[in-house]
Amino acid sequence: MAHVETKPETQAARSDLPPADRYASLLEEARKLHGVSHMQDAWRRLRRNWAAMASLAFLVLMSVAAVLTPLVPLQSPILQDLENRQFLPPNASSRTLQLTSDGETKTLTQLLAEFRQEIERLEQDARTASPEERVKIQEEIDARYAVEHPYQKFWHQPDWLAWRLTDLRIILFGDWCLPSLCGADALGRDLLARLFWGGRVSLVVGVVATLVSLLIGVSYGATAGFLGGWVDDVMMRIVDVLYSVPFLFVVIFLITILTEETIKTEYLEPYGIDQIMIFYVVIGAIYWLTMARVVRGQVISLKNEQFVDAARVIGAGSFRIIFRHLIPNVMGIVIVYLTLTIPAVMLFESFLSFLGLGISPPDVSWGLLVNEGIQVITPIKIYWWLVLFPSLTLTLTLFALNFFGDGLRDALDPKMKNR
């Protein structure tokens, strides 16, 4: 926050100072100097760190790929083919999107055309039918979309965005799709497609669970630090107790209880809470401890600054001071912890999925893929691609996140200023 201040005009009126034209040249010089904000300075330092920049590029690429997965001409991640493609090694022979049922093989575009014909037929019926029947037919159309639409057979419950992107993909690439560059798994599903779709889940879990932990940790830490006194003592003692609980075990315990069939159907599903959401909340709920401590420390050092007094003088309440004045000031360090929490959370997700307690099929995540790869290792035959490719993607992403987080921490370190 090194703003170069220039205000010589106010002094130019004094007679013992040099004449105004000399000030003009000084002013000219001062205009050439630019103040560098903390963020700009940090960004400059970050740019010089090639490992962090390479990681950033990799991460951006990864996120774009995750968002645009339905647009990429991939094979189906869930379609099985036990006869021809079980444990198919990596190869480069081109493929089309097709489905074999009752001995008849049809491509996706053919299936789509058939489906559209049927819907049109139903819609025609609806136009001539009586109002009650029309409602019934409309219900049938909706049901068909939800169950019989060809997309439902190639992809597992595509959401709205995935649906639109798939439409676009069909327009762009038709039935053509990438060869099985990473091979196929025990059920003949294409590994490359599963890696892409798994990445989507893994990244979303990482980001959302981290945001949950951010929300809890920052508000908790800021409140404790700002209020101080016995409230602070009690709140931090609670954090201490939680620190000495082996969380993995408690989380596993929690997840098994929350995914119990009756609890799931009676208490959670009516509110639209599914397993992945439980996951976000539970993981986020354990990673907030460090964040709370860090934010508390920062807030304690900030709360005696003048701008807090100024805010109080003009009548701001505690809530407003915490959330409008203090929290924006601790954002730098919070961002650093954020980038270091995301890989920890992703690792935890893959760890749980690996143990069979996390994401459950037919959803995929990278941890699940590694687990599937390990399960089919036998002394007789090793399907190396099923272990190598998921491990590699997971490891590279964690690597990149760690490098980027470290680089960001160095860049935002005020001690490194102007170096």
Binding site: V241, S244, V245, P246, L248, F249, V250, I252, F253, L254, I255, T256, I257, E260, T262, I263, E266, L347, S350, F351, F354, L355, G356, L357, G367, V370, N371, G373, I374, I377, P379, I382, W384, V387, L388, S391, L394, T395, L398, F399, N402
Partner: protein
């Protein structure tokens, strides 16, 4: 010192009680008893079973009864492994997990300290860069990925290690190395940073000036100052080794505590799971206390409060 220990024990009792109470009530919050999932059983038998597990009494009686048992270190019968008390499961699994953890820790400390000291002394040499690259890989690779790649490579392709089994050193080696590798990497990085800082200080120059040999200066003077960050890292490391061993035990099919815990969780064997949670909490607390104590022994400036 004594007061510190007493305080730690009180804290531990409190933490264990909180964990027990939370897990106990969560367990009871699950609708239906643990035997409901089985096919329908006659009313008399159900009543007998409930009497056996004291499920027919009011909630607070059950809670106090369980608490009294747990205080006497009796975790009760397992819900799923018939005629198998939780204590026996723990007694059988604990030695396996403990030796796995100890071997992993020994491996991590030996390799980490050696690599850290070597790269600090040979700063900016091939050793330094090689070790530090290796350490970064060790830190970032998840241990289950490392373990699965190690199985493919060392067990099936090269045949250096047996695939499974437990008992001989050859069987322990690969799981222990896979479990310890990330910690070795982290310890190496900590040691290197600590050594570099210490080596520039006056007392090292003094030690050289009074004619001590290089080896003696490094081992007796420098390492002692550099090891402090490593010691304070041991607390979290022990916790991470406890959790890491779950995965390693599962991949290598070792009959330890971790594998029982996962089974207890997936089979919804609540008494077993709770016993495990309590045992792990206890272990974590003891380890952290030991780390704190050793911190005071190594650095006389640290006073325990």
């Amino acid at each position: 010192m004594l007061w510190y220990l007493v305080k730690r024990i009180i804290w531990m009792a409190g933490t264990l009680w909180v964990v027990f109470t939370l897990t106990w009530f969560l367990m009871r919050a699950v609708p239906g008893g643990p035997f409901d999932a089985e096919k329908k059983i006659p009313e008399e038998i159900r009543r007998n079973i409930e009497a056996r597990y004291k499920l027919d009494q009011p909630l607070h009686v059950q809670y106090l009864d369980n608490l009294a048992h747990v205080i006497r270190l009796d975790f009760g019968p397992s819900f799923k492994l018939l005629d198998y008390p939780v204590n026996r499961v723990i007694a059988e699994g604990f030695p396996v997990s403990a030796s796995l953890g100890v071997f992993a820790m020994i491996f991590a400390l030996t390799l980490g300290l050696t690599a850290g000291v070597a790269s600090a002394i040979g700063r900016r040499t091939a050793y330094d860069y090689g070790f530090m690259a290796l350490a970064t890989v060790g830190v970032a690779v998840p241990n289950f990925v490392l373990a699965s790649l190690a199985i493919v490579l060392f067990v099936f392709y090269l045949g250096w290690f047996p695939a499974a089994g437990w008992g001989t050193l050859r069987q322990i080696a690969l799981p222990a190395i896979c479990l310890g590798a990330p910690f070795a990497g982290y310890i190496a990085r900590l040691t290197r940073t600590g050594m570099l800082e210490v080596l520039g200080q006056d007392y090292i120059r003094t030690a050289y000036a009074k004619g001590l040999r290089h080896r003696r200066v490094i081992v007796r003077h420098a390492l002692r100052g550099a090891i402090l960050p490593v010691v304070s890292y041991l607390g979290p490391a022990v916790a991470a080794i406890l959790t890491g061993s779950i995965v390693i035990e599962r991949i290598f099919a070792l009959p330890g505590l971790g594998i029982h815990f996962i089974e207890a969780a997936t089979q919804r064997d609540y008494t077993l799971a709770m016993g495990m949670v309590l045992v792990y909490t206890f272990l974590l607390f003891v380890m952290n206390t030991l780390v704190d104590l050793s911190y005071g022994l190594i650095d006389p400036r640290v006073k325990l409060k």
